[in-house]
Protein backbone atom coordinates (compact mmCIF):
# COMPACT_ATOMS: atom_id res chain seq x y z
CA UNK A 1 0.00 0.00 0.00
CA UNK A 2 1.29 3.48 -0.82
CA UNK A 3 0.81 6.02 1.93
CA UNK A 4 -0.03 9.61 1.13
CA UNK A 5 0.87 11.91 3.99
CA UNK A 6 0.52 15.63 4.62
CA UNK A 7 3.71 17.53 3.83
CA UNK A 8 2.75 20.45 6.06
CA UNK A 9 0.26 21.37 8.76
CA UNK A 10 -2.87 22.64 7.03
CA UNK A 11 -6.63 22.66 6.76
CA UNK A 12 -8.31 20.17 4.48
CA UNK A 13 -10.24 22.36 2.10
CA UNK A 14 -11.64 19.79 -0.32
CA UNK A 15 -11.57 16.02 -0.54
CA UNK A 16 -11.53 15.23 -4.23
CA UNK A 17 -11.15 11.44 -4.36
CA UNK A 18 -13.40 8.75 -2.91
CA UNK A 19 -12.67 5.40 -1.33
CA UNK A 20 -12.79 2.74 -3.99
CA UNK A 21 -11.93 5.18 -6.76
CA UNK A 22 -9.31 4.25 -9.33
CA UNK A 23 -6.66 6.92 -9.59
CA UNK A 24 -3.84 7.55 -12.02
CA UNK A 25 -0.45 8.98 -11.16
CA UNK A 26 -0.89 12.70 -10.63
CA UNK A 27 -4.59 12.61 -9.74
CA UNK A 28 -5.73 14.84 -6.89
CA UNK A 29 -6.73 13.20 -3.63
CA UNK A 30 -7.52 16.36 -1.68
CA UNK A 31 -6.65 20.07 -1.50
CA UNK A 32 -5.03 21.47 1.61
CA UNK A 33 -4.92 25.12 2.58
CA UNK A 34 -2.27 26.75 4.72
CA UNK A 35 -0.83 30.25 5.03
CA UNK A 36 -3.16 31.25 2.25
CA UNK A 37 -1.59 28.73 -0.08
CA UNK A 38 -3.77 26.05 -1.62
CA UNK A 39 -1.93 22.79 -2.03
CA UNK A 40 -3.35 19.93 -4.08
CA UNK A 41 -2.26 16.57 -2.69
CA UNK A 42 -1.72 14.15 -5.52
CA UNK A 43 -0.97 10.47 -5.73
CA UNK A 44 2.38 9.55 -7.18
CA UNK A 45 1.24 6.02 -7.92
CA UNK A 46 -1.73 4.64 -9.83
CA UNK A 47 -4.13 2.31 -8.04
CA UNK A 48 -7.31 2.26 -6.00
CA UNK A 49 -7.99 4.56 -3.07
CA UNK A 50 -8.42 1.99 -0.28
CA UNK A 51 -8.72 4.38 2.64
CA UNK A 52 -9.28 8.12 3.02
CA UNK A 53 -8.33 9.51 6.39
CA UNK A 54 -9.39 13.12 5.93
CA UNK A 55 -12.57 15.06 5.60
CA UNK A 56 -13.29 18.71 4.77
CA UNK A 57 -12.50 21.26 7.45
CA UNK A 58 -10.23 18.90 9.32
CA UNK A 59 -6.81 20.15 10.45
CA UNK A 60 -3.94 17.84 9.48
CA UNK A 61 -0.49 17.95 11.02
CA UNK A 62 2.69 17.47 9.01
CA UNK A 63 3.08 13.73 8.52
CA UNK A 64 -0.58 12.78 9.11
CA UNK A 65 -1.90 10.00 6.91
CA UNK A 66 -4.22 11.28 4.18
CA UNK A 67 -4.89 8.17 2.11
CA UNK A 68 -3.80 4.65 1.31
CA UNK A 69 -3.48 3.69 -2.35
CA UNK A 70 -3.57 0.03 -3.29
CA UNK A 71 -1.18 -0.37 -6.18
CA UNK A 72 -1.78 -4.08 -6.74
Amino acid sequence: MAEIRAEITANVWQVVAEEGQMVAEGDEICILESMKMEIPVITEVPGVVRELHVEPEQVVQEGDLIALIDES
Binding site: A10, W13, S34, M37, P40
Partner: protein, 244 residues
Protein backbone atom coordinates in the same frame (compact mmCIF):
# COMPACT_ATOMS: atom_id res chain seq x y z
CA UNK B 1 -1.27 51.20 -23.01
CA UNK B 2 2.33 52.34 -22.74
CA UNK B 3 4.87 49.66 -23.46
CA UNK B 4 6.65 49.20 -20.18
CA UNK B 5 9.18 46.57 -19.33
CA UNK B 6 9.50 45.20 -15.85
CA UNK B 7 12.75 46.27 -14.28
CA UNK B 8 13.46 42.74 -13.23
CA UNK B 9 15.56 40.06 -14.84
CA UNK B 10 13.74 37.17 -13.20
CA UNK B 11 10.31 38.51 -14.13
CA UNK B 12 10.95 39.55 -17.71
CA UNK B 13 8.10 37.59 -19.32
CA UNK B 14 5.10 39.80 -18.54
CA UNK B 15 1.88 39.09 -20.41
CA UNK B 16 -1.01 41.56 -20.32
CA UNK B 17 -4.46 40.12 -20.95
CA UNK B 18 -7.48 42.34 -21.47
CA UNK B 19 -9.62 39.74 -19.78
CA UNK B 20 -9.27 36.29 -18.32
CA UNK B 21 -11.15 33.95 -16.02
CA UNK B 22 -8.48 34.13 -13.34
CA UNK B 23 -4.83 35.11 -13.63
CA UNK B 24 -3.97 32.36 -11.14
CA UNK B 25 -5.75 29.75 -13.26
CA UNK B 26 -3.98 30.99 -16.41
CA UNK B 27 -0.59 30.69 -14.75
CA UNK B 28 -1.44 27.34 -13.11
CA UNK B 29 -2.33 25.97 -16.52
CA UNK B 30 0.92 27.35 -17.90
CA UNK B 31 2.85 25.80 -15.00
CA UNK B 32 1.31 22.39 -15.66
CA UNK B 33 2.39 22.79 -19.30
CA UNK B 34 5.96 23.37 -18.15
CA UNK B 35 6.23 27.17 -18.20
CA UNK B 36 9.39 28.33 -16.44
CA UNK B 37 9.94 30.33 -13.28
CA UNK B 38 9.37 34.02 -13.85
CA UNK B 39 6.19 34.08 -15.92
CA UNK B 40 3.98 37.03 -14.97
CA UNK B 41 0.41 37.47 -16.12
CA UNK B 42 -1.61 40.65 -15.63
CA UNK B 43 -5.26 41.11 -16.47
CA UNK B 44 -7.41 44.20 -16.89
CA UNK B 45 -10.41 42.22 -15.80
CA UNK B 46 -11.10 38.82 -14.28
CA UNK B 47 -14.39 37.08 -14.89
CA UNK B 48 -13.75 34.57 -12.09
CA UNK B 49 -11.22 36.04 -9.68
CA UNK B 50 -10.43 33.79 -6.73
CA UNK B 51 -9.78 34.25 -3.06
CA UNK B 52 -9.19 31.60 -0.43
CA UNK B 53 -11.56 28.69 0.07
CA UNK B 54 -13.49 29.31 -3.10
CA UNK B 55 -14.31 32.91 -2.27
CA UNK B 56 -14.39 35.38 -5.13
CA UNK B 57 -12.34 38.49 -5.81
CA UNK B 58 -14.16 41.08 -7.85
CA UNK B 59 -13.09 44.44 -9.22
CA UNK B 60 -14.37 46.79 -11.92
CA UNK B 61 -12.25 46.57 -15.08
CA UNK B 62 -9.04 48.54 -14.81
CA UNK B 63 -9.53 49.45 -11.16
CA UNK B 64 -7.14 46.95 -9.65
CA UNK B 65 -3.78 45.48 -10.40
CA UNK B 66 -4.47 41.79 -10.95
CA UNK B 67 -1.29 39.81 -11.31
CA UNK B 68 -0.07 36.24 -10.93
CA UNK B 69 3.55 35.14 -10.83
CA UNK B 70 4.95 31.67 -11.48
CA UNK B 71 7.79 30.53 -9.28
CA UNK B 72 9.66 27.25 -9.12
CA UNK B 73 11.46 27.92 -5.84
CA UNK B 74 14.14 25.58 -4.60
CA UNK B 75 12.48 25.17 -1.21
CA UNK B 76 11.09 22.32 0.89
CA UNK B 77 7.28 22.21 0.91
CA UNK B 78 7.09 23.56 4.46
CA UNK B 79 9.20 26.58 3.45
CA UNK B 80 7.35 27.56 0.29
CA UNK B 81 5.11 29.93 2.18
CA UNK B 82 8.18 32.19 2.46
CA UNK B 83 7.78 33.24 -1.16
CA UNK B 84 4.23 34.31 -0.39
CA UNK B 85 5.46 36.22 2.66
CA UNK B 86 8.07 37.91 0.44
CA UNK B 87 5.32 38.87 -2.04
CA UNK B 88 3.29 40.57 0.70
CA UNK B 89 6.30 42.58 1.79
CA UNK B 90 7.28 43.51 -1.77
CA UNK B 91 3.76 44.62 -2.66
CA UNK B 92 3.36 46.74 0.49
CA UNK B 93 6.69 48.39 -0.33
CA UNK B 94 5.73 48.94 -3.96
CA UNK B 95 2.39 50.47 -2.97
CA UNK B 96 4.13 52.85 -0.57
CA UNK B 97 6.75 53.82 -3.15
CA UNK B 98 4.33 54.51 -6.01
CA UNK B 99 1.15 55.74 -4.30
CA UNK B 100 2.38 56.90 -0.92
CA UNK B 101 -0.20 54.74 0.84
CA UNK B 102 1.23 52.91 3.84
CA UNK B 103 -0.35 49.49 4.30
CA UNK B 104 0.13 47.11 7.19
CA UNK B 105 0.07 43.35 6.70
CA UNK B 106 -2.59 41.17 8.26
CA UNK B 107 -1.55 37.58 8.81
CA UNK B 108 -0.97 35.69 6.66
CA UNK B 109 -0.76 38.12 3.75
CA UNK B 110 -3.47 40.71 3.32
CA UNK B 111 -2.59 44.36 2.95
CA UNK B 112 -4.72 46.62 5.12
CA UNK B 113 -5.15 50.31 5.66
CA UNK B 114 -6.71 50.51 9.09
CA UNK B 115 -9.16 47.62 9.05
CA UNK B 116 -9.86 47.97 5.33
CA UNK B 117 -8.44 45.49 2.86
CA UNK B 118 -6.32 47.03 0.14
CA UNK B 119 -4.88 43.89 -1.40
CA UNK B 120 -5.19 40.14 -1.11
CA UNK B 121 -2.86 37.34 -2.04
CA UNK B 122 -3.71 33.77 -2.99
CA UNK B 123 -1.00 31.21 -3.68
CA UNK B 124 -1.57 27.84 -5.24
CA UNK B 125 0.91 25.02 -5.49
CA UNK B 126 1.20 22.81 -8.57
CA UNK B 127 3.95 20.23 -8.29
CA UNK B 128 7.18 22.12 -7.70
CA UNK B 129 5.61 25.36 -8.89
CA UNK B 130 3.99 28.01 -6.74
CA UNK B 131 1.64 30.52 -8.34
CA UNK B 132 1.34 33.73 -6.35
CA UNK B 133 -1.67 35.84 -7.24
CA UNK B 134 -2.23 39.36 -5.96
CA UNK B 135 -5.14 41.75 -6.36
CA UNK B 136 -4.45 45.35 -5.35
CA UNK B 137 -7.24 47.91 -5.33
CA UNK B 138 -5.70 50.88 -7.04
CA UNK B 139 -8.23 53.26 -8.56
CA UNK B 140 -11.85 52.68 -7.60
CA UNK B 141 -14.48 55.37 -8.20
CA UNK B 142 -16.04 54.40 -4.87
CA UNK B 143 -16.39 51.44 -2.55
CA UNK B 144 -19.71 49.56 -2.90
CA UNK B 145 -21.98 49.97 0.11
CA UNK B 146 -21.61 46.34 1.19
CA UNK B 147 -17.79 46.74 1.33
CA UNK B 148 -17.81 50.03 3.25
CA UNK B 149 -15.24 49.71 6.05
CA UNK B 150 -14.13 46.34 4.71
CA UNK B 151 -12.29 47.17 1.51
CA UNK B 152 -10.51 50.20 0.18
CA UNK B 153 -8.36 51.39 -2.73
CA UNK B 154 -5.17 53.41 -3.02
CA UNK B 155 -6.90 56.40 -4.59
CA UNK B 156 -9.47 56.49 -1.81
CA UNK B 157 -6.73 56.47 0.83
CA UNK B 158 -5.31 59.70 -0.53
CA UNK B 159 -2.73 57.98 -2.69
CA UNK B 160 -0.93 59.62 -5.59
CA UNK B 161 -2.43 58.63 -8.95
CA UNK B 162 -0.47 55.61 -10.10
CA UNK B 163 -0.58 53.61 -13.30
CA UNK B 164 -0.86 49.86 -12.86
CA UNK B 165 2.25 49.44 -14.98
CA UNK B 166 4.21 51.60 -12.58
CA UNK B 167 3.07 49.65 -9.54
CA UNK B 168 3.74 46.35 -11.30
CA UNK B 169 7.28 47.31 -12.31
CA UNK B 170 8.06 48.49 -8.80
CA UNK B 171 6.61 45.28 -7.33
CA UNK B 172 8.45 42.91 -9.66
CA UNK B 173 11.78 44.61 -9.07
CA UNK B 174 11.24 44.56 -5.32
CA UNK B 175 9.96 40.97 -5.31
CA UNK B 176 13.08 39.75 -7.09
CA UNK B 177 15.18 41.41 -4.39
CA UNK B 178 13.09 40.00 -1.53
CA UNK B 179 13.19 36.49 -2.98
CA UNK B 180 16.99 36.62 -3.03
CA UNK B 181 17.12 36.86 0.77
CA UNK B 182 14.16 35.14 2.39
CA UNK B 183 15.54 35.53 5.93
CA UNK B 184 15.62 39.28 5.42
CA UNK B 185 12.14 39.13 3.88
CA UNK B 186 10.83 37.33 6.96
CA UNK B 187 12.32 40.02 9.20
CA UNK B 188 10.66 42.73 7.12
CA UNK B 189 7.41 40.77 7.18
CA UNK B 190 7.41 40.54 10.96
CA UNK B 191 8.07 44.28 11.20
CA UNK B 192 5.19 45.10 8.84
CA UNK B 193 2.75 42.65 10.43
CA UNK B 194 0.02 44.74 12.03
CA UNK B 195 -1.36 41.53 13.50
CA UNK B 196 1.40 41.33 16.13
CA UNK B 197 0.16 42.96 19.29
CA UNK B 198 -3.42 43.05 18.05
CA UNK B 199 -6.38 41.45 19.71
CA UNK B 200 -7.56 38.92 17.15
CA UNK B 201 -10.26 36.41 16.52
CA UNK B 202 -8.97 33.24 14.91
CA UNK B 203 -11.42 31.11 12.96
CA UNK B 204 -10.39 27.58 12.08
CA UNK B 205 -12.56 24.77 10.86
CA UNK B 206 -12.21 23.07 14.25
CA UNK B 207 -12.25 26.05 16.61
CA UNK B 208 -12.66 29.80 17.00
CA UNK B 209 -11.04 31.82 19.73
CA UNK B 210 -9.94 35.30 20.72
CA UNK B 211 -6.51 36.27 21.96
CA UNK B 212 -3.52 38.54 21.51
CA UNK B 213 -1.23 37.78 18.57
CA UNK B 214 2.28 37.87 19.96
CA UNK B 215 4.64 36.85 17.16
CA UNK B 216 5.25 34.58 14.21
CA UNK B 217 7.51 31.56 14.56
CA UNK B 218 10.28 30.59 12.20
CA UNK B 219 7.80 28.68 10.05
CA UNK B 220 5.62 31.76 9.67
CA UNK B 221 2.88 30.44 11.93
CA UNK B 222 1.04 32.99 14.03
CA UNK B 223 1.36 32.71 17.81
CA UNK B 224 -1.75 33.78 19.69
CA UNK B 225 -1.94 34.10 23.48
CA UNK B 226 -5.35 32.87 24.55
CA UNK B 227 -5.71 33.52 28.28
CA UNK B 228 -2.11 32.60 28.92
CA UNK B 229 -1.97 29.60 26.59
CA UNK B 230 -0.12 30.11 23.31
CA UNK B 231 -1.86 28.68 20.27
CA UNK B 232 0.14 28.15 17.08
CA UNK B 233 -1.84 28.94 13.95
CA UNK B 234 -0.74 27.43 10.65
CA UNK B 235 -4.00 27.96 8.84
CA UNK B 236 -7.11 29.94 9.61
CA UNK B 237 -8.85 33.27 9.21
CA UNK B 238 -7.62 36.03 11.45
CA UNK B 239 -9.69 39.12 12.16
CA UNK B 240 -8.19 42.14 13.88
CA UNK B 241 -10.71 43.08 16.52
CA UNK B 242 -11.50 46.74 16.97
CA UNK B 243 -10.74 48.09 20.39
CA UNK B 244 -13.76 47.85 22.66
Amino acid sequence: MPDREATSERFADVRWLPETGSTNQYVLDAARSGAPDGLVVVADHQRAGRGRLGRTWSAPPGASLLVSVLLRPDLAPEDRHLVVMAAAVAMAEAVAATTGVIAALKWPNDLLVGHRKLAGILAEAAGDAVVVGIGVNLDWPEIPAELEGIATACNLEGGRPTLREELLAEFLAGYEVRLADLDEARTAYRAALGTIGARVRVERPDAAFVGIATDIDDKGRLLVDVDGVVETIAAGDVVHLRDA
